[in-house]
Symmetry: C2
Subunit: 276 residues, 2 copies
């Protein structure tokens, strides 16, 4: 049996009791290591689970799925995913490959950022399409995701923005030379996301368009959701450029405009002081 | 401290390790008992947690929140919610009341139906606004939610339909006479939801409108997501009227039209045989 097990969002103890029991009895346990991170590292997980974990980066999952699935028809193999196995990144590929090999699979769900953001008080019902904001480079500054923000706003829906994670990326030079040397991991924070958004707003104004959001649009920044030291800050997009939410991971919500009074009241618990 | 703890979707062991530790040390443990159900009852939870649970129905949470929060400033109180505390129903009220009383709170997240539906292979990114489908009566047959389905379809987004749950409802007679006698709980199944949807489609045709979906629209029925005996069925809306998914809880997804090849391939794992 292949088990896809969500680890939740905080630390080692956010796994479910059911998930932990499975981890402890599987013959091999893989940890998906490219789309997200917990606030603790692999070692802390290994200590708490009492099991060695095999790191599986994107290359391995895509190219060596057969290794992961080896003998899973006669023994139990676990594949651990931060958040939920079908959250921000789906693991359909692995499931489909298992099915083709006649290997049964089970999913053990957990919280994902896509439902846990509800902790800020915005109603999950009222979220529209999710967008991803990627790190801009000098030559690649995509703005196309902004259309989705616009559509959500027009429909009165909030937009959850997932912020870029660069793990195991190679510099152009190392890539060309085929050297497997990787850059340190980078995680986009709320400030960077807000600054990129503001630049898009300014670009649209320059082109004579009316942007769907402005410096004054109400946003919510979230950091380390589910961890003990999680931080939530509600304020304008302008304020999001400077608010300090600390360590990764960060997410940003652009509100949909009209809020329910309960949403307003909840957000007021997290509002950034005027003169900060 | 007030702890809001998600129980996940399946059975007693879907609580997180962190959640279980908190439950075992709290002075009082409430179980929210009106918006959802696990596949096991209160007794199974009590046995596994080793704690007595106090059932809190909607009346109590709304009218007697102060009882729930009593002494939570000097001791720990847990409030257990099926799924995630900020999932389909948010518990903002309780959080706000706690905050006003100076009681700190923490959320221990878990899977909710809103992210766990990803197990069918449809990408969570591409879900639009969630709708609720309520039991129609002879005199109350609301169709307004259908506008949201239409808007989602126009934007190529899937629609998750949460299906009605009637728990602790009184008959009109008992309500008028003030008798606290409650009807047996009722849970809408996928067949009933699909039939109501088809009736709306037919009503729109009668009025000369072109409905946003038809008998042939691809839908996904899900039952007991996260439980060992979960069932998923992909087929037309017409097929959803007769497919047998067994016991509650059920949910229904109306797909957004164009699907990613991976979504199609995943759904094919669950497709209803042609001649059934």
């Amino acid at each position: 049996m292949l088990y896809l097990i969500g680890l939740g969002l905080g630390d080692a103890k956010d796994i479910t009791v059911k998930g932990l029991e499975v981890v402890r009895r599987c013959s091999r346990v893989y940890l998906e290591a490219y789309t997200s991170v917990l606030t603790v590292g692999k070692e802390a997980l290994e200590e708490f689970y009492g099991r060695k974990l095999i790191l599986a980066d994107r290359e391995e999952v895509e190219q060596e799925a057969d290794n992961i699935l080896k003998d899973a028809d006669i023994s139990d193999v676990a594949f651990l995913v931060v958040g939920d196995p079908f959250g921000a990144t789906t693991h359909s590929d692995l499931v489909l490959r298992a099915t083709k090999l006649g290997i049964p699979y089970r999913v053990i769900h957990n919280a994902s950022i896509m439902n846990a953001v509800g902790c800020c008080g915005l109603q999950l019902y009222k979220f529209g399409e999710i967008v991803s904001i990627v790190f801009w480079t000098d030559t690649w500054r995509p703005e196309s995701f902004f259309d989705k923000v616009k559509k959500n706003r027009q429909n009165g829906m909030h937009t959850l923005c997932l912020l870029d994670i660069k793990v195991k990326e190679q510099s152009l030079e190392n890539l060309i030379k085929g050297r497997k040397i990787y850059e340190p991991p980078r995680y986009m924070n709320v400030n960077q996301a807000a600054q990129q958004l503001l630049e898009i707003v300014q670009n649209q104004r320059k082109r004579g368009e009316e942007p769907a959001i402005t410096e004054e649009t109400l946003c919510v920044g979230l950091a380390r959701v589910g961890a003990e030291d999680q931080k939530i800050a509600a304020g304008t997009l302008q304020q999001m450029c400077t608010v300090d939410l600390g360590e990764p991971l960060h997410s940003l919500i652009i509100t949909g405009g009209s809020l329910h009074p309960l949403e307003m009241e909840m957000l007021s618990l997290f509002s950034i002081p005027e003169n900060s």
